[in-house]
Amino acid sequence: MAAKSVALGTLVRIDFDGGTTYTTVGRIKGAQPPNQTGTEADGKELNDTLDVPIPGIESPSEFTFTQYWYPGDTEGAKVDDAFDARRDDAGSGGGVLGVQLAYPHDGTDSSDTMPTETFDVRLLAVAKAPADDPNSVFIRDVTCRRITAITAGTYTVP
């Protein structure tokens, strides 16, 4: 039976140039890793007695993370730039971001090897939390469209 593990220590690492030089993106309040859902195609034949669809290609999915942020934050501006470039080609300053989610479940020490999920995305939405109280904290949800398959790997904490 799988052990129970908590999300504490999960890293959201992004290469804003769409490569594999991933770095953390400030304080992440939480993240929704991308789901995986397959499509189905009609597979009925005339002599079938049971309608069993044929497994199809993978459906699109989204990756969302919630970050603490404030206007003027230099690190946060990378998200804004990526949104502006969302329709551009891949490359430096382009519209494709590399994402690596590193999970803590292999261990808890700084030298541990963390299991990862790696994929590319394009920015879809930046939703800022309302500043409707004097004590509201600047938070925003960043939603990305996953555009490549999820690759499993590892990240060794330096």
């Binding site: 220590g9 803590p104 004097p134």
Partner: protein, 138 residues
């Protein structure tokens, strides 16, 4: 290095509107038995952190800290005048004792709050307020 408690006391004692009424009589945590009136008593209440996924414990410090503040006087009007001085700190920010704050939110205390500086027959009047200290850093 101080603490948010000490910074609050220091901040209150740096306000001339307050010291003109209580001089240096701002007590922290322990209810004074024989303090001259009027005085201010402060006590740390609830605190709340803004958690994130980081596994670094040093990243986690209280972001919201609330304090019970009681303005104690033998004269009702003076207790309320003192409370008004404390309430005038509402929405202040910046330098705060040994550190800085992003915001001070001051409000009347809840109707359910039971003041600690009042007995059955000691003739004291207490005006209770709550100070929320947001984003304190040193």
């Amino acid at each position: 290095m101080g603490s948010v408690d000490e910074s609050l006391v220091s901040y209150l004692l740096g306000r001339s509107g307050i010291t003109s009424l209580v001089e240096a009589r701002v007590s922290q945590a322990t209810v004074p038995e024989r303090e001259s009136l009027p005085y201010i008593w402060v006590n740390r209440g609830a605190s709340e952190t803004l958690d994130d996924l980081s596994a670094n414990p040093s990243d986690t410090t209280a972001f919201y800290e609330s304090f019970d503040v009681e303005c104690v006087s033998g004269d009702l009007a003076k207790a309320q005048l003192l409370a008004a001085e404390v309430k005038s700190l509402h929405k202040n920010r910046g330098e705060f004792g040994a550190g800085e704050v992003q915001a001070l939110i001051v409000s009347d205390h809840s109707d359910h709050y039971r003041p600690k500086n009042i007995g059955d027959d000691d003739g004291r009047h207490v005006a209770s307020v709550e100070i929320e200290i947001i984003g304190y850093t040193e």
